[in-house]
């Protein structure tokens, strides 16, 4: 299963993949391209990835969520050029009950942001461009001191919603 795609994302297709008679709750998330970031007007985005690792890391995250919440999870992340309002990431997590569905969905988006090697380049309305560095926009001028991303051991953190 490929998690990365250059085609527009289709949440309905992901929902269809996880729907089943025994699963009564489906929580979804769509992350879309905003028209502003850090006070600047954004015109479009360019996503790139360390593709084989990104695929492997997505597979690990999905497996962790599936095991921990007995959930069926479908995820896609788009690469390439995206316009304002288009979806960059789509997640559908189905479970017998909604608590697990929400928790699994939330876990997947947080872990994607934390662990999957994907980079966003913003193209601004004024014609300039820049790589997005969340560690700087978070207020730390030199980024985090320690950038090691250990594998999340499911159970380490609380992802209840």
């Amino acid at each position: 299963m490929a998690y990365l795609t250059s085609a527009p994302l289709d949440l309905g297709r992901l929902v269809a993949r996880v729907t089943a008679p025994a699963r009564g709750g489906i929580a979804c998330f769509l992350g879309t391209v905003r028209d502003h970031h850090g006070g600047r007007a954004v015109r479009s985005l360019e996503y790139s990835a360390y593709e084989p690792m990104a695929e492997a890391e997505c597979a690990r995250i999905v497996a962790e969520a599936s095991t921990r919440w007995q959930a069926e999870v479908a995820v896609e992340h788009r690469l390439g050029h995206l316009r304002i309002g288009e979806a960059a990431v789509a997640i559908a997590a189905a479970a017998p009950h909604r608590d697990a569905a929400f928790a699994a969905c939330r876990y997947v988006i947080e872990e994607i942001k934390r662990r999957v090697p994907i980079w966003k380049r913003e193209l601004y309305a004024d014609g300039t461009e820049a790589w997005v560095d969340p560690t700087r926009s978070a207020g730390s001028p030199e980024g985090r001191a320690d950038r090691t991303v250990p594998h999340a051991a499911p159970g380490d953190a609380e992802w209840g919603v």
Partner: protein, 88 residues
């Protein structure tokens, strides 16, 4: 084995996004003195033109999984230096 301290390890280093721009290339083959770690690979990368603009403690991966500076490297490993992630 035996006099392994004198052997070398050849690894492939990948650089992405802003780090590829800093060094001017995305793939670098490194020959490291054994025993090699991510730290020794990074040290060599920071010796390249522009390499000092790579952080001292970047996010790193070995063979497509997150790793640390102390992760040991074997021949033909694929090491990656990852700028701050911004997917999702």
């Amino acid at each position: 084995m035996g006099v392994s301290t004198s052997t070398t390890v050849s690894v492939r280093a990948l650089l992405f996004a802003s780090y590829a721009e800093v060094v001017g290339r995305g793939i670098v083959t490194l020959t490291l003195t054994a025993p090699a770690t991510v730290r020794s690979a990074l040290q060599q990368l920071r010796g390249l033109p522009g390499g000092l603009r790579l952080p001292e403690r970047p996010l790193v991966a070995v063979n497509r999984a997150h790793a640390s500076l102390d992760t040991p490297l074997s021949a033909n490993d694929e090491i990656a230096i990852l700028p701050p992630l911004s997917g999702g």
